[in-house]
Symmetry: C2
Subunit: 372 residues, 2 copies
């Protein structure tokens, strides 16, 4: 059994107001191409297909098209679960019809205990769940944490193990370190809702979703695929991609994806960033978090930079602003707005407001106050 | 071919704040029972499955369960279209997989021109559409109205007619009267977006959704099923149900459904309505629009009536209120709220506010104003 492991598509997600639909589509196209090239027997999507419980019509259309393309056009078996960002009841629409074409979409804890058998492998598809669902399912009020629930679930899954086959768990949770008490990697982050990787040892492989970086966890047989697209500045340095997993003999190979527009940090002085010799070397339409090294006031800085870099998602002054004696460092909200404006004008232009300018400003202020 | 014709389920709809889920479920249970008893070959649902473009999770679960029950449990072929209340992109989720079990769910104009053939009948499933969709589909900028679009659509459908078979159109629009110029039933309501029934003459039967009463149109071969449940007071006198339609020889039989709680008008004096001998004869938990014949002020009228009739959706004074000389008939918004309250108190209790009461009222008013 060879399968492709991906997760956290987050269709419908926006990045600082920018629609990522084209980026997500471009990543998807590479995923399906990889699935075909690598001749995988199935595609695993480990939760968070959508970014929101109520996705937009556009996101619904995009996911529907992708799933139809994978399963009905390319005839690839699909193994998918709902994540914490998905609405399980909404996502499961149609799923009762999907199994006929080897598309398994699990959204309930109870479904996890009936493995899907494809080739030499039993797949256990465990959707994201809250402790109360496991409490209800097992009729056991002592289950208060995801970790307690997982202990029971893994035991119940093991009872279903066919020892002639390999076992793969598909899940969407926070897995962490190890429970070895003498280890530095003891579970300390996430508390009782983190699943220790040792608990997952019975499986030949655990295909996880939830964390967006493939390096969030270091365990040979328990892996996050990460998201196919960078969804925040904090993911700027991550390499995005998918795992191609062979069960026998076991092998997991990471296949990177090429972003349509990258998300990255661009650091420099305003003069450097606006010099053609510099910016012509840049992929100007990447999603950029700009770190300006200047400290002085630069009039209209964002508008000027956006002329060159249209997709700026963030602007930071890494060295802080210049602080002068007469500068207002903390704005007193009781200050007269006209005084604030006059002060700002003086700072940026080094001129004082003329009578006519004061008049215009006062009129604009009056109009704006009325609109409130 | 014998089929059941229903429409306008409007799952998720509320009636003056009351959740109709139980009523809709009860109607559905009767529909499926009829389908089985009458040994129909298919069930037709002519649009507005949901009440809203973004239905609640509960409504999604309810529709999904019903469709699974009909198609996967009872193995009934389903022929459904989206209505103006449905979001076509959301509703079509999964539909590419449905056809394998004879469940056809059309949400695009283009799909209407490929008939679904079941038994002796070609079904044309035309979802609700706006003129621009037909304009786009036919690449014909002259299409400005639904009527113009329908002329082209009917012609295109006729080109697909297999004369050895019967033809049934399933659609969701406003059909009206006849185009006979000498007729009294000329299209006068709905203007250019009403479809004249004459235009639909090529079909052996037209199964319509949109209007909620089966008697909205009087044409032998063009019928509204109406909604299975009453959705407003204006539907209080309608009989709800479904059509059982035979194509050869043609016959259409209306099968009424029994409401779980009826929607009806209850008229009488306050004394009558609150007399046990009267109300014990009533189905007290029906959804009631109460028409009170009294004219005098009745303190706490709604609270008292709701003790007896828990599901009041409306209260009307059919004879108008008593108007006395000292009564404020139009409230002057500049009036002091304390004066208004004192006046109201006097009218309803015939007493004046005590000093303590005035104090309480003033405190409550001050607190309420602060919250604003």
């Amino acid at each position: 059994m060879r399968f492709l492991h991906t997760a956290d598509w987050h269709l419908g997600k926006q990045l600082h107001g920018f629609n990522l639909q084209a980026e997500q589509q471009a990543a998807y196209e590479q995923i399906v191409q990889l699935a075909v090239q690598e001749k995988v027997d199935a595609v695993v999507i480990a939760g968070d297909l959508y970014d929101r419980a109520v996705p937009s019509e556009a996101a619904v259309q995009q996911l529907n098209s992708m799933l139809m393309d994978l399963n009905l056009k390319h005839h690839l078996p699909l193994l998918a679960i709902s994540g914490n960002h998905d609405s399980a009841p909404r996502l499961r629409t149609g799923s009762a019809w999907f199994a006929a074409t080897d598309f398994y979409l699990n959204t309930k804890v109870s479904q996890a205990l009936t493995p899907v058998v494809l080739g030499d492998t039993q797949f256990f598809l465990l959707p994201y769940f809250e402790p109360f669902e496991a409490r209800h399912y097992f009729e056991d009020d002592s289950i208060r944490t995801v970790q307690q629930a997982m202990e029971k679930l893994v035991t119940a899954m093991q009872a279903q193990f066919d020892l002639d086959k390999k076992q793969v768990l598909i899940a969407h949770f926070f897995a962490a370190g190890s429970t070895h008490v003498d280890s530095e990697t003891q579970v300390t982050v996430g508390g009782l809702n983190a699943i220790p990787v040792d608990l997952l040892a019975p499986f030949d492989y655990v295909a996880l979703g939830h964390l967006h970086g493939k390096d969030a966890l270091h365990a040979d047989r328990v892996r996050y695929s990460g998201s196919p697209v960078k969804f925040s500045i904090s993911e700027a340095t991550q390499t995005k991609g998918v795992w191609i997993v062979d069960t026998d003999p076991f092998e997991a190979t990471f296949k990177p994806l090429t972003p349509l527009r990258d998300v990255r940090i661009l650091k420099g002085s305003f003069d450097d960033l606006t010099t053609p010799a510099f910016y012509q070397q840049q992929t100007q339409d990447d999603y950029l978090s700009i770190q300006l090294t200047d400290r002085q006031v630069i009039p209209n800085v964002m508008a000027v930079l956006r002329e060159i870099y249209p997709n700026i998602i963030n602007l930071e002054r890494v060295n802080g602003p210049v602080v002068t004696d007469n500068q207002i460092t903390e704005i007193d909200p009781s200050l007269d707005p006209m005084l604030l404006m006059a002060d700002f004008f003086k700072q940026t232009t080094d001129e004082t407001l003329t009578k006519q300018q004061q008049h215009w400003a006062q009129n604009a202020l009056t109009a704006a106050t009325k609109e409130d």
